[in-house]
Symmetry: none
Subunit: 211 residues, 4 copies
DNA sequence: GATGAATGAGCGTTCATTCAT
DNA sequence: AATGAATGAACGCTCATTCAT
């Protein structure tokens, strides 16, 4: 049995994804859940803290599997995992990317946490890419190029859903395209070794099936 | 001497970029401009029509120079132009990309215009890329790859400012980085012929100066 | 060629009948007419004076034909005329009766004129009825009964359109029923002499054709 | 102790009768009641729902006593009851009739309910008149005449207050006259049996005292 | 005669949040 | 834990009217 707090977060996420966090009132969350507005404020001191708690969930999902990997030591091809994990989270918490800049403007505490997380996430991705370069999966590049490659990856990973949603309302179809965006962004940097890796073949097969 | 209508658009754009369109009230625009709220509504029938008029300006800026090019016939290297124009507009009207998805949710008439424009813009970019491929500036690619390349370009061009703003408030510095994002996205697809072109040398010099 | 002032009155009446005077803005009148709002206020010092001028037209129409009758001297059967004239005016200026009480509340100058007119109209109707009694078309009645008979007649004549419009939007059909309401209200008071009058036969034929 | 909701309805009715529903702002209601505007909207989702709730009260008052009568079986003289009940409600909720047509124009949900109620009310009155005819209190008449008689009765019952208010502001005096309007409207249709009924004598006595 | 920019009070409504119970 | 009444600032917008040109 879920606690009330958990159910609030669940419903809030649902509504945020549907209409945006800024378009969702606390009263609406409480009503949809069938609890009083007073009870909602008993569990969360304000709307921002609901947002922050959801954001913490998001962070956890993003890094859960990646953290498990001891990629510093092992020679593993991480692209597939990265693709799968990031897309999953970015779909589940898609409202975050739809209105991230406004959220940061409106919720100062959220802004702080968001910034901390972003720095950490970017460092993690950079570390991951460096690892892949070291083991020859990705071509080597300058520090500047790495910075830009990572920023482009982050932007594409988080924003492509917004893009496709502008073009079509077929949500399922759109989310599939996310994989293509990331794959083709990364592809020019893949080495021969990568293309010989079974994971890449899996990915290419999967992407082939989308088209 | 500017007309009141122009001044409203000017101040509105300023405030939209500062705090977001959704966070800017019509009363606030009027107050900052020193006119009555009634006067604002004399010039614009509602907030959405202010947004739409600003969006139409944006469209014009985006396409003004590109439209002038008779690129179907001439063999010209367009990347530099494209970089310059799109970045200029995307900075000047940056609020648009910061909250595009929410704007589309909240303003149905804007949504329609936005969608029409987006289709047209993407086709234009595709045509431009095909032209560059034809004249050997960009490596040839499949139709799918072209689609994804264009979508990635659009996403990076419109969203990179949001990204950098999350990391730093140095607005000038951030806007410079936009060029890097697009350049490195495109770079893997440039041919030898491109690298011999003087424009590319200009770009590389410019980018070098940023770092 | 109509003067601007006349055209304002014309369009105002049209809009008042369509949506009510209180739901019609002065701007709307000017726009529909294709003149500036300033020009409208050049011709009328305020909205109330438009209303009053229209009301004066109404009064004129109501009494034009009745005034022509020298009914004090002639033995004439006036019911038919009264039916025809009052219904015609009450249809043409139907907005007046739809919102008379609110108009009186909102427009003090109109209120005064309205009250004066109402007293005069009621006295006229009373005189008319007394004349019909004197010449044996209508059964004699006490002064109280006469008062009430006249008030009922006025209420039915002015309000029946509102009633039928609540039940159906077929405006033409509804206006026909007005005649029935008045006829059946008066009928119990008609004498044998009335029923032998050709006018009554005309009326009965006309009413028969409605059903 | 009245609930806030009840007090809102109470004050709203008071203000509506005083100045008209359309001339009464929600803010005005809240202020007169000494509550915040937010609280008013906590209890009613919009102004229309206040109007509708008041209208439902009106319906209840109109039909409360009439519904209790098992007039299909008993031979009873209903005129007195009808007079008393309808006048009481039409005075208490007099704003309704002062601006009914505008209310219907401005409040679509109210319009629907109003129309349903009107049809039901008219059928009820018709049934009541048919019963009185059956038991010999009212002279028999054709179906058409019945329709018109009922429509005239409804118009007089609901509109006579508006009429008298145009002539005088003595509210109490005016409301007494309502009874006269209805009585004299009905009188021509009363049979000898009616005039022998004690209720009629009561009415005549009451009316006599008014004059 | 005519234009149209400008005013500002007011309207219906929403919303995050508080607090006594 | 939970209820739900209450607050009040703010929002988008309308309207009759004025006035310089």
């Amino acid at each position: 049995m879920r606690t009330t707090k958990e159910r609030i977060l669940e419903i809030a996420l649902e509504l945020f994804n549907e209409k945006g966090c800024l378009n969702t009132s606390t009263r609406h969350i409480a009503e949809k859940l069938g609890i009083s507005i007073g009870n909602l404020y008993y569990h969360f001191k304000n709307k921002e803290s609901i947002l922050i708690e959801i954001f913490n969930e998001y962070i956890e999902v993003v890094f859960k599997k990646i953290k498990e990997l001891d990629y510093e030591k092992d020679e593993i091809f991480l692209l597939k995992q990265f693709l799968a994990d990031s897309i999953e989270a970015d779909i589940k918490y898609r409202f975050l990317h739809l209105e991230l800049n406004l959220l940061v403007m409106n919720f100062p505490a959220f802004k702080k946490i968001m910034e901390q997380h972003l720095h950490f996430e970017l460092e993690t991705i950079k570390g991951l890419v460096r690892h892949q370069i070291k083991y020859g999966y990705i071509t080597s590049m300058s520090e500047l190029e790495l910075d830009i490659f990572v920023s482009n990856s982050w932007i594409i990973a988080t924003q492509n859903a917004s893009y496709w949603n502008l073009l079509s309302e077929d949500f399922i179809e759109n989310s599939k395209k996310a994989a293509l965006n990331i794959y083709f962004l990364v592809k020019p940097y893949l080495t021969q070794k990568s293309f010989e890796n079974d994971d890449i073949k899996d990915i290419e097969n999967f992407l082939g099936s989308i088209i």
